[in-house]
């Protein structure tokens, strides 16, 4: 279980994340939604120690995430942020091998190689394994980074807007992959999403933020509701039941 305890972050007078406390379950898909500037990505960065918090604490399976040795944390919890700019000219396989760094410290063991091969296969990247990542399309590159996180083999996987810049073919493929990870491997996946309908279709739980605070929290059946969404985004939605999913319409 991940526990966030009153996490707070301010920039000057603006409080971006305001004393947020949460518990994330051991398994399943948790989506964080909310308008721009709600503090979603900041919360994820704080929870994964990438950004220093002003106050509050985080524990994952009892480990103090903010103060424990970074390497120990990296075997429990992984974080994937949206921008994948790197100057390193590396192949997909080499990238995925980096996922084993917390375990092997740079010297790959046979188990590492097996884990890498498996992660590549799981993301359908085996054929692209020797390609340099800068030659990949956006969707392929995104998948390569997900494969790296897979190879890292942490129980908790945090993803910040993983669907950014993906068309719906790639977006759906990635969401299916994440869902499978939760169902087949029993991992706990937390992701920031902009598209409420992806959140609705794939999540066990949806957390909605606004102005640095959590204002809705529950299963899609509760959060993907007309009044609840209006409270989050400040505009009217129409919510329909479609093939067992709750779908929000907001185009008009």
């Amino acid at each position: 279980m991940i526990t966030l305890d009153a996490l707070t972050k301010s920039y000057g007078p603006a409080t971006v994340v305001d004393a947020v406390s949460l518990e994330i379950a051991d398994a399943g898909v948790t989506s964080i939604i909310g308008p721009n500037g709600a503090g979603k990505s900041t919360l994820l960065s704080l929870a994964s120690r990438i950004l220093g918090a002003d106050a509050g604490g985080v524990t994952a399976d009892g480990v103090d995430v903010l103060n424990a040795p970074s390497r120990a944390v990296a075997t429990i919890l992984s974080i994937l942020r949206q921008e994948h700019h790197t100057t390193a000219r590396i192949t997909v396989r080499e990238l995925v091998e980096f996922g084993r760094f917390p375990h092997s410290h740079g010297r790959l063991t046979p188990e590492c190689r097996a884990a890498v091969a498996e992660a590549l296969a799981y993301c359908d990247l085996t054929d692209l394994a020797e390609r340099p990542i800068h030659q990949l399309s956006g969707g392929q590159r995104q998948r390569a980074y997900v494969a790296m996180v897979l190879a890292q083999d942490t129980h908790y996987v945090l993803l910040d807007e993983p669907l950014n810049n993906l068309d719906m073919v790639h977006a759906t493929a990635l969401m299916r992959l994440l869902r499978r990870l939760a169902d087949e491997r029993g991992k706990s996946i937390v992701l920031v999403l902009h598209d409420v309908n992806y959140a609705s279709a794939y999540s066990d739980r949806i957390i909605a933020m606004r102005d640095g605070a959590v204002i809705q929290d529950g299963p899609p059946s509760l959060v993907i509701a007309e009044d609840a969404l209006e409270a989050v985004y400040g505009m009217r939605f129409r919510v329909h039941e479609l093939d067992g999913d709750r779908v929000a319409a907001y185009y008009r």
Binding site: A88, G99, E130, G139
Partner: protein
């Protein structure tokens, strides 16, 4: 532009060519490059030592051996510090010299003379002076550049420009202090204190070699961490690297190595840029175990070969620095223009 081919499944969109690139072929490329570079280095050093000795072996050889040792120390120091700095700052344009590290060393060394007075300096052994300046640089550079690099809102070009101007500021302030200290023998003093290829300062060669070995050994031991760092700060943290502490440790190593090379030959702005980028292009790998070695081999070979050619073919010495700046400057402009157009 043709529309994207939707009939191809994006998940298995691989060509036959990319499938056939097994790991051992990459490995052999690295082996070939490193072997070739070692041979080139051996040839350059042999050439430098034996060219035109004219039978005066007992006179020429010890002197030349000392020169080669100095050039080797400088070359390795510049190569390792540049590769590490570029990984830390995530680009191939910044180098410690371009960011003004060696100008800062000159400034600190000058300040020491200024504060202690030239009589005071005369009483302090060279080794102690080197140690003091190096210590100051490690503290100063680490603090200063931690601060400059920590503000990520600044773009790359701003950083480079800040570095270039800071370098100018440091060196003009150093000249200014020279003037104030000794208006009469300004030029003489400056020449005595500042090393150049023309005036290799070999008095501190021994201690410089020790510092170099310690620094590059430390860098090489961190090669796997450096590999991870090349993915960027956030991914490095996600993979379990304590970025703050690692960055500080690397900046200390860089400062030590810069002190070594600057103490021996003075500032050489573009050498690091040239050798590091050449190494990346030849090895085509991100692995620091390879690139640190390749860049060092290239640097030492280039320095010995360049100095040998200058002394024997063109019949003058002391201008290796300006040749490096000339070639390196043109290359740097090409890099900038290329970067800006992509």
């Amino acid at each position: 532009m043709p529309p994207p081919d939707v009939s191809v499944d994006p998940v298995t969109q691989a060509t036959g060519a990319s499938r056939a690139a097994p790991a051992h072929r990459r490995l052999s490329r690295v082996t070939i490059v490193l072997t070739a570079l070692s041979l080139v280095l051996a040839a350059s050093v042999t050439l430098f030592l034996t060219w035109d000795v004219g039978g005066h072996w007992d006179f020429a050889l010890p002197r030349r051996l000392e020169q080669v040792a100095a050039l080797a120390v400088v070359g390795i120091a510049v190569a390792v510090s540049t590769v590490v700095f570029q990984t830390l700052t995530q680009n191939r344009i910044l180098t410690p010299s371009i960011m003004g590290f060696d100008a800062l060393y000159v400034l600190l060394a000058t300040t020491l003379v200024f504060v202690l007075g030239s009589r005071g300096v005369a009483q302090i052994p060279d080794l102690a002076m080197f140690g003091l300046s190096t210590g100051l640089l490690v503290v100063g550079a680490t603090l200063l550049y931690r601060w400059v690099l920590s503000d990520q809102s600044r773009g790359l070009y701003t950083l480079v420009l800040v570095g270039v101007i800071a370098g100018t500021l440091f060196s003009s302030f150093a000249s200014f202090m020279f003037r104030v200290m000794n208006p009469n023998e300004f030029a003489v003093l400056m020449d005595e204190l500042l090393a150049s290829f023309n005036r290799l300062d070999t008095t501190v060669l021994g201690i410089a070699a020790v510092v170099l070995l310690a620094g590059s050994f430390a860098a090489f031991r961190m090669r796997h961490t450096l590999d991870v760092l090349s993915l960027g700060r956030e991914k490095a943290i996600a993979l379990g690297i304590d970025h703050r502490r690692t960055a500080t440790r690397l900046l200390v190593i860089i400062a030590l190595l810069v002190a070594v090379s600057t103490a021996l030959v003075g500032p050489i702005v573009f050498l690091g840029l040239l050798v590091a980028n050449l190494a990346y292009q030849l090895t085509r790998t991100h692995r620091h175990a390879v690139n640190l070695v390749a860049a060092s081999l290239i640097a030492v070979a280039a320095l010995t070969l360049g100095q040998a050619l200058l002394e024997h073919v063109l019949d003058f010495n002391g201008t290796l620095g300006s040749i490096i700046n000339l070639v390196g400057g043109v290359y740097f402009i090409a890099l900038l223009v290329k970067e800006a157009r992509s």
